[in-house]
Subunit: 279 residues, 2 copies
Amino acid sequence: MSTIEVGMKRTAFFISDGTGITAETLGNSLLSQFEDITFDKITLPYVDTVQKAQQVVDRINRQGEIDGKPPIVLDTIVNDEIRDLLASCNGFKIDVFSTFLKPLESELETHSSYSVGKSHAINEMERYKDRIDSVNFALDNDDGARTRQYNQADIILVGVSRCGKTPTCLYMALQFGIRAANYPLTEEDMEANRLPEILQQHRHKLYGLTIDPFQLAAIRHERRANSRYASLDQCDFEVRTVERLFTKENVDCINTTNFSIEEIATRIINETGLKRRIS
Amino acid sequence: MSTIEVGMKRTAFFISDGTGITAETLGNSLLSQFEDITFDKITLPYVDTVQKAQQVVDRINRQGEIDGKPPIVLDTIVNDEIRDLLASCNGFKIDVFSTFLKPLESELETHSSYSVGKSHAINEMERYKDRIDSVNFALDNDDGARTRQYNQADIILVGVSRCGKTPTCLYMALQFGIRAANYPLTEEDMEANRLPEILQQHRHKLYGLTIDPFQLAAIRHERRANSRYASLDQCDFEVRTVERLFTKENVDCINTTNFSIEEIATRIINETGLKRRIS
């Protein structure tokens, strides 16, 4: 391996006294801007004691010696003592909280809470319940299985089988506490060329998903190889028919082909102005 | 309303040219450190043109006039032109990317990509597939419905009905691409006082969830009010029996009572050393 290639690989540590999700989300976002470097990413959550922090420092320093380059160290540690210890490592440090909390404190003219994990305790119970309720709602109202709770739905996703409805509903439930149902349009619905009765009643809650027929065929092929269901002809027919139906019935719709689950979910929320129940 | 009370409420904008999830996650994390201030949080995703940015600037400025205080403006905009325009607003600005990308560029001795959305396109297809596969796995293997795919599972959560298994599995699937199955221990299993045969075979993949009986009763009550299933006696009996079973069979276990879904998931991943499939 040449020197140049070695230089293209770096280790990054995302460190937190909590779940590590903030550190990881921000870290991934920052590092994704450097396309010509490969990062070995290591998330270390629940570093909430000085002892654990010392182990982390040792690990970072060892990794730096192996790599011959300082690891990137991004942390969202709240506790001063733990954060100071971590700052003694031989890494390239991105200290999110001291960077932003100090200026925020002056702007808001108040102190922030520095006790480990303190900030998370308060609303967790309510969030937990909201999420469980929303996940249960998504599961109970998945795949058109039940429709009698549609009056409680915040949104009802419609589209052909396997176009991404279920994961999008679950993501909306888990991330935002939104009650999302989904209904797969059947061949019967397509032949009738109209929305089924049950959906007509909730027309204002409908949002369509569509997808490139080639990708649909590939996804269906994994579930039921070489079936009529997975054939390109069938996928193409279904997608075209359903897209025409969306236009005819004035159902807003998003093409999911090039989007991640979070992009589909956030774009729909953005388009519809749907209110998040948790944040 | 007194002047002091007015000062306790601030508006915060989380702005992004993408989903807004990074801005929102970091923003929530920073603002949660200020417990004595109420924030009205507004996420504005997909601000990816100069026109949209100008509308956002106008909105921020209007809000600042209404509030009598500058709104907090946290953005993760990559494009220079859009970011510069946004910087002209009368808000208290937290510019995440210019704060951290510039020093990272010198450390990594390379330039970051500044094209809007460019960074997201590359691995999305792979991530999408991984997630869909994992969500399908979680759904197919939910609630002990099917057990024949347990050899493909990364982890199998066990516990009494309604202790948080399903949302935890789905979170692991969506957030980390982990293949998580779950199996509810039945009264039959409890009476036998041993793990069912199917779980014995996959003992190294098992992880237990337990919960405070009072909370369990409250959760079950919402599903089936005034049933034996939701009675405190029954919940207490099940939880105690299953906890003893976990100890006897050496199944590691987490008490979910005071944790959010993401905390349960990340703690289990941290304890087990389970590998994330996506990040």
